[in-house]
Subunit: 331 residues, 2 copies
């Protein structure tokens, strides 16, 4: 029996989540049955999409169940194995985050070939990195495109912007503090950036991208999307990747007043969910893994210690307190 702890959903948040919506629960895990493994989590991910699963609403994945442990990306080490293909000490990815240990069937974990630091498998080589890569491919971002990325200092945005730069684009990013904007330009190599908390997003975008934009990589929705529509050039493309500005709204606010520009500017808007693209994982790891090995992608992480702090890490991430990928170190 392995004593462990899990974070459960104590209440469904209404609006912005509170710490009381989460609870830490002690559990005792039995020994692995035949075909199972017992895993010690090393790091877990907190991601914007998790907010959606806390609502009891139909979506592309079922809602989290009340009183049950949350789920999410995690990287861990096998403690005990009752399956032939996995051995103690092997490092595995799973969707069993938000807990210190877990029991799983062998097919619910994926062993990692270590070509990068462990945390990279939850960041640039994991869901956020692949989300950035798929999003750019979805609208065929290519040399010469003028690209705008919102939430550009975040886990997805920072990779999307750098990949676009490597493809020969001019890249502008928005972020939530002056320090982050400085980082976009000085560390991630963006051509320009602005702090959306200074207001007038449309005006700041127009100043940072005076010739307009061909591609908008949208992680934010809301006022950012309206500004981007105004800045789009003819035949522009919008990747609808996320809408973090909306996830905590109790009553959804109205959409962009200028959506009808889609017609006259001949725009394309494409939404996507990474899970539809998992068959592209080998190509992603080849391309982006190669760039990581060559030191061509800068990554940032914000790491919080301990399961007790996981709910706060999630809340802080929703507020934009992180730089790059927000992770919780569990062991």
């Amino acid at each position: 029996m392995q004593p462990s702890r899990q974070v459960v959903l104590a209440a469904r948040p209404r609006g912005f989540p509170r710490l009381e919506d989460f609870a830490i629960r002690p559990v005792r895990l039995p020994d692995p049955a035949d075909g199972q493994v017992l895993v010690t989590n090393l790091y877990m991910s907190v991601d914007p999409y998790m907010r959606g699963r806390m609502d009891d609403a139909p979506s592309y994945i079922p809602p989290f169940a009340l009183g049950q442990p949350l789920e999410g990306g995690a990287i861990g080490e096998i403690l005990e194995s009752a399956t032939a293909g996995l051995r103690p000490g092997d490092v595995v990815l799973s969707n069993f985050g938000w807990r210190e240990h877990f029991l799983a069937n062998a097919n619910e974990v994926r062993r990692v070939e270590r070509i990068a630091p462990l945390t990279a498998y939850l960041g640039v080589l994991g869901v956020p990195g692949m989300t950035a890569w798929v999003g750019l491919n979805l609208v065929d971002v290519r040399a010469g495109d003028r690209v705008f990325v919102s939430a550009a200092a975040g886990a997805v945005g920072s990779i999307a912007g750098q990949l676009a730069k490597l493809r020969g684009c001019r890249v502008v990013g928005s972020a939530g503090s002056g320090a982050k904007v400085k980082m976009l330009v000085e560390e991630f190599g963006f051509d320009a950036g602005f702090n959306y908390r200074d207001g007038d997003i449309a005006g700041q975008l127009a100043a940072a991208a005076p010739d307009g934009i061909d591609v908008y990589f949208d992680n934010v929705g809301g006022e950012h999307l309206e500004a981007a529509l105004s800045a789009m050039r003819l035949h522009g493309r919008i990747v609808a990747c996320g809408a973090i500005s909306r996830y905590n709204e109790v009553d959804p606010p109205p959409g962009p007043r200028n959506l009808q520009l889609v017609i006259g500017k001949r725009l394309t808007i494409r939404g996507f969910i990474l899970m539809d693209w998992l068959d592209k994982t080998p190509a992603f790891l080849r391309e982006v893994g190669g760039l990581v090995s060559q030191g061509k992608l800068r990554t940032k992480e914000t790491i919080v210690e301990g399961l007790d702090n996981a709910p706060r890490a999630f809340l802080d991430m929703l507020k934009g307190a992180n730089v790059g990928k927000m992770l919780v170190k569990l062991a």
Copy 2:
């Protein structure tokens, strides 16, 4: 010298246009110079997009000039010719509507091979018909798709819906009166329809398309678009063709509150303007001309008599008083 009359833009409308925004002006046209033709217009078209050109705002075509004659699709007969390729009596299409006669260079008119009644060249075989055809192709509408068409009794919508039916789709349409809805089903062969003026567009759409929709052909924007987003199935496609509900708004109202569904449902929204697709005209005429010859497409027209009534015809069209293509008979 040919005495004639033109409709000029007397004032830029603010909100819904008034008759006083238009004026009829007598003119005298000189004899055609070398390479020119003098044309008597037989029919002219009034179209929703013309409202946009009455505003002094940047768009995909320059605004109409104040005090100058309006422009638009027209079909006419050559009265005098000073060019080798065109002879009196030839029937030609042009963009010199809103006038009884006009002078033009030979390359500004296109001679029509008569395979259908003259008015068809401003309707099913003209801009509205080709708009419907290009829009369906743009999102690859195919057998089995559940399709929703707004403004379905109009010039574009009635063709879009019938073409989708001929491709093996289930088709639902909205229109602005009970009589029009009856026509959709009984004459155009739609599977279902509803009257948007009865309100609760989302509820009516859900009832008419209980399994949701794969394709939304949007001629309207506004509440229709919001309802369609809610009804979309996974991987659905939206053709952004027009937004007639918005053209007369002084201050653009907010957009759809549920636009973020584009992400979770993996939707694609594509805007287009017919002028980008004119190289497809031969393929369009082959396919849709063939269907017209075989009697497989029903067309409706609302015909108003005389240039004096052209401004009122335009206003009535914006209000949805027409069924099918709204035309003005000029001679």
